[in-house]
Each structure stands twice: as structure tokens, then as C-alpha cells.
């Protein structure tokens, strides 16, 4: 398949596709750079007031079609060292980028690694950097709101099950290749495969994410909500146009939550999650993606984030995962080996 950036980037992507298990391991170990304290400022993503007219499809709808790269170095939550700082000046941005690159070099220094820093740089450097310091726009401190006691209990139970899994269901949806990683919904940038393709017919939009080969079909007509009996991992979506903005409302999630790891760290999500996503083209090459999560059994208040997606000539590739999930097998083998070791230790007479 022809790509704009030629063989090397493609070869790396092919490498990823061939080894989903490796992807699982790396993702499980990565993406931890989020934490910190409360800030004060109120970032809001300004939609560029420009003369850009959104092109139309043959059906006369705003044309959002194309492959969009949502990779970014911008963390979901504002890092501690940037607390209180909503945006960076150009010199601060340059310094921060250098700092992050140094951290990556340090992380892999002298260690064998499947993913070179080069891969990350390659993917992430393409990303737009809008000078904001967190993807979260609300609350104003750029942090995910406090979790409810119920969610904390759930998180601890999940963590305990994960630490010594009895079977696959104790592991994450992404570990099981059911849903993940950055796909959400909501879409939250991760380390790789940060690409989504949008397709539009008169009555449907397809949100086609590479991970894990999910084609989310969003009906556009104002159809009634479905009952609560049927639930899907990626929820059930309905869409509508508000001027040039595609608004997608999603409900009917499962009690397993969604797979985004960052959210797992904060206790995951619940089946009652209600998600609003807004897709708006703000210039020929940029799609603004905003979402608001309301999940009262998980968080004490709703929260919102904004991601800028850049148009790319790359194609979406088939992300087979379950079909070769050696990672899950290994995780369970390790758990059984740990059981055996523990049983052996217990049998030893005290010295």
C-alpha cells in the first residue's frame, strides 16, 4: 500500500502489526508520565476564526473524511512541573520538548528495546503542539476529577485481579485484544497507531480506528436511543450535525469500562458512562476533536478534553491482535508459575 513517507516508517509499522504481543507489553509498561498537582488556569481550545469553509460531501454534509493522526506529546493531564501553566511560550515549548526527548533517551539507555526512541519521535513529532499543557480542558486544572469511593473500590479489585490473574477476564480489555488502546471511545492519544479514518455516507459516519480494528458505525438520522439490554464494548453511538460539527453521543457501554490505560489508572469507567464527542474541521489539515465524559459512578464530576488531529496520507492497516496474542498467554503462564513458586515456598519447612 502506498504511503507518503516511504519504506522506513512503513517497515516500522509493519513490525508493530506483526507483533501485537510486543505492542501489548510496551504499552503496558509505557505511558505512565501522567501525574501531578492542581493548576488554576482555564484553557479552552479556541476554534480558529478563519475564512476556512468546510468542504461538503456529495450529500451536502460537512466533509470530515480522511485519515487523521492524533498522536501528540501533550499529556492527557497536566504534568506536575507545569501546574498552573495553561500554555507554553515558544521557548518553554522547545525546552520541554528537549526535556522529554532526554527522558526517552534515558529510559532506553543501554537497554534492549523493541521500540526505538526514533519510532516515538517519528510518530509524535508529526503531532500538532498547540502550546497547551494538557489535553484536558475541563476541569481547569487539567486533571481528571476525583474518583468516587465506588470507583476506587473497583480499581483496587481490578488491580488485585490483574496482579495474579485466574483467567483472561482478570486482565484488561486491551490485554485480551478486545478493545484498545487509544481507540477508546473517547479517543485518547497513545504511543502508537494514533490514526483514525472517517467515512461518510448520507446516513452514517464510520469512525475507523486502527486499534483494534474497530469500525464504529454512527447513524446520523435522529433515531431513538436503544434500550439498555444490549451493551457493546465501544458503546452504542448516535450522531447529528450541529452546523459544521459532527456530534456523537455514546451510551450502552459495558461494566468492563474502556481500555484506555490512563483511565485504568484512575479506576476505569463504568457501564453508565455517557460520552459526547465533537468533530470539527478548523482548517484544511486540522480536525478538532473534543469530548466530554460523564460517569457519575466513577468521577465526582464530568470532564472534557480536546485533541487536534492532523490530516495524513497514511493508510489504516489491519491491526490483528487476538489472532496472535502471545502476550496474554505469557501473562497467564507467568501467573501460574508464580502460583507454583508460592506453593513451593509455603511447603518449605521453617529454618
Amino acid at each position: 500500500m502506498a504511503t507518503s513517507d516511504g519504506g522506513t516508517a512503513l517497515t516500522r509499522r509493519v513490525e508493530r502489526l506483526r507483533y501485537p504481543a510486543i505492542v501489548a507489553i510496551v504499552i503496558s509498561c509505557g505511558s505512565q508520565a501522567i501525574g501531578g498537582q492542581t493548576g488554576q488556569t482555564a484553557p479552552a481550545v479556541s476554534k480558529k476564526a478563519s475564512s476556512f469553509t468546510v468542504p461538503r460531501t456529495a450529500d451536502g454534509q460537512p466533509d470530515l473524511q480522511g485519515v487523521w493522526n492524533y498522536g501528540t506529546e501533550m499529556p492527557l493531564q497536566r504534568p506536575a512541573e507545569l501546574a498552573g501553566k495553561e500554555r507554553l511560550t515558544p521557548s518553554e515549548e522547545a525546552a520541554y520538548r528537549e526535556q522529554m526527548a532526554a527522558r526517552r533517551r534515558e529510559r532506553q539507555n543501554g537497554k534492549p528495546t523493541r521500540y526505538s526512541g526514533e519510532v516515538f519521535d517519528d510518530v509524535l513529532a508529526k503531532a500538532d503542539w498547540t502550546k497547551r499543557t494538557s489535553l484536558i480542558t475541563d476541569p481547569r486544572d487539567g486533571k481528571i476529577p476525583a474518583t468516587t469511593p465506588l470507583a476506587e473500590k473497583r480499581r483496587d479489585e481490578r488491580a488485585a485481579a490483574f496482579a495474579n490473574p485466574d483467567g483472561p477476564e482478570d486482565l484488561g480489555l486491551a490485554d485480551r485484544c478486545i478493545l484498545g488502546w487509544s481507540t477508546g471511545p473517547p479517543i485518547i492519544p497513545g504511543n502508537q497507531s494514533n490514526v483514525v479514518q472517517l467515512f461518510q455516507s448520507r446516513d452514517h459516519v464510520v469512525i475507523y480506528t486502527e486499534m483494534i480494528h474497530d469500525a464504529r458505525i454512527v447513524p446520523l438520522n435522529d433515531r431513538p436511543a436503544v434500550g439498555t439490554t444490549i451493551r457493546e464494548y465501544a458503546g452504542v453511538s448516535r450522531g447529528r450535525w450541529e452546523k459544521d460539527t459532527l456530534v456523537v453521543e455514546t451510551t450502552n457501554f459495558t461494566r468492563h469500562g474502556i481500555a484506555t490505560l490512563t483511565l485504568r489508572q484512575t479506576g476505569g469507567t463504568d457501564e453508565n458512562m455517557h460520552l459526547i464527542e465533537r468533530f470539527t474541521r478548523i482548517d484544511p489539515k486540522t480536525l478538532l476533536y473534543e469530548f466530554t465524559v460523564t460517569d457519575p459512578t466513577t468521577w465526582t464530576r464530568p470532564w472534557s478534553a480536546a485533541v487536534t488531529m492532523l490530516k495524513t496520507d497514511e493508510h489504516i492497516y489491519e491491526y490483528a491482535c487476538h489472532e496472535g496474542n502471545r502476550s496474554l498467554e505469557t501473562m497467564l503462564e507467568n501467573a501460574r508459575a508464580a502460583d507454583k513458586a508460592a506453593a513451593g515456598a509455603a511447603k518449605k519447612p521453617p529454618e
Binding site: 485466574d166 483467567g167 455516507s201 480494528h213 489472532e323
Partner: protein, 281 residues
Amino acid sequence: MARRRIGIVTALIAMGAACALIGGILALTAAPSAGQEHTYRAPRTADGTPNLNGVWQAVNTANWDIQTHDQRQGPVLQLGAAFSVPAGEGVVVGDEIPYQPSALAKKKENAEQWLKLDPEVKCFMPGIPRATYMPYPFQIVQTPAHLVFAYSFANASRIVYMNIRVEPQIDTWMGYASGRWEGDTLVIDSTGFNDQTWFDRAGNFHSDALKVTERYTAIGPDALRYDVTIEDPKVFTRPWQMSMPLYRRLEQPPRLWKYNCVEFAEEVIYGHLRKTPKSSK
């Protein structure tokens, strides 16, 4: 073809008035023939191409066996009549699959070890053309530049690139698909398959040299004719075809519920690694 049809029409006119009454009766009572099927003109999308948008499904027993088969006991005795195999007519044109001798031996072995070897049991992406005629629906979302095919089974999907040739970079489960319109027929050429998917539960298989040419033609507002040509010089001695109708799911509004089957295959794949066997829970 057109010339021949004109010839037939001319001949009919020549037979003339004497047969007019009988002819009229025949025309009113005759079932649609294959020739008449192709005279149906599908509604158009806004860009003027035949509109194939919708949720579709095959209604046949091809997923059990693409060749004509008698009824037989299912693999799990406790399921009795609920999961045994009904008889069905084959969807293979001529009902014969031209296997090379060694490949035929492998097909038989596959059939004997079906439950152990069939990728469907493990919820692997089913490949093309099997995804089309599994007993689950699929949805087509059509745009001028691409068609998205989303399949209920295993949440599988593929993107068909219209009017450009996409070259496979690596083997995949669902293939690399290039599409074009030939009159009212959507023609899709797919290559870049791995050798892991099957055609049915009867062990019919292919290699990574598989080339699939699919033809989707609307034969009425709620039906498509689905013709497939299979080429695989590593397994078959010549190309061969399948043909079947596909039906529109008329539920309103149409909705593709995904059969996220990974969780149902985990016991088969990972059950031996469980701390507490499921049966003892």
C-alpha cells in the same frame, strides 16, 4: 449480449400477433429469470453510483459447507438438534472444488479435526469470502472513494479503496481490497491474505497466494447477487466460483450489532492456563 437480446426481441415480434395473448399471460406469470435480474437498476447515491448501503446477510448453509451436503449430527451431542448440521445446496458453481491432490488430503484432515483447527472457533477474523456468508450480518457504508465493510463476526472489517490499486505490504486476515464499478456491479479484487482463514466449517482452505474477485450486483431493492472467483495456484488446479444471493436486513432502523466473540473463545485458547478450571466454578 445486448445484440443477442435484441435478436430475441425481434424474433418474438416476428412470432407476432398469434402468440400475443399467450405471451402476455407468460410475461405476467413468469418468475424472474437470471437474465431479468440484471435489468434491475439500483437507486443511486448522491455521486451517482449504485447505492449498496445497508445491512446484508446470506441466508444459506454455506458456512457449514460451501459444497452440497446432507444433514448430519453436530459435534456436541448434548446440543442435539439445536446445533446439528442441516442439509444444504452448495454455493460452489458446478459444486466441485478443483483441489490439487495434496491439498485435497489437507482438506480432509481439516474436516476431521474441524473443532481443533477452524479459526472460527477461536474468533479469528474470518477472511474473505467467508465473512460474507457466515450466519451474521455485515454492513456496507459507501462513499465515492471507499466502501467500508463491517462484519458482525469478530468485529472484523475492511476498507475497499475505489479506483486505486492497493498493493499488499504484509499478509492480513481480511486482505487488501481494490474496488471499481463495472456498470451496476461493484467489483472488488483482494490479495494479501495469510493462509490462516478457511472457507467453511468443512475444512475448505486456501494458501497465502489467494486472490479473491467479488462481484456485488443489486437484483432488487432488497437483494444482491454475490459472485466470487477464487484463484490460488498453490492449492487449486484452476480458478473456481461461488454464487449466492445476499438479503437486506429490513429491521428499522437497521443496526449492525457486533458479535464480539473473543471472550467466548478464551476458554478454548487459554483454558489450560486458568488457576480454577471453569467447570469447577
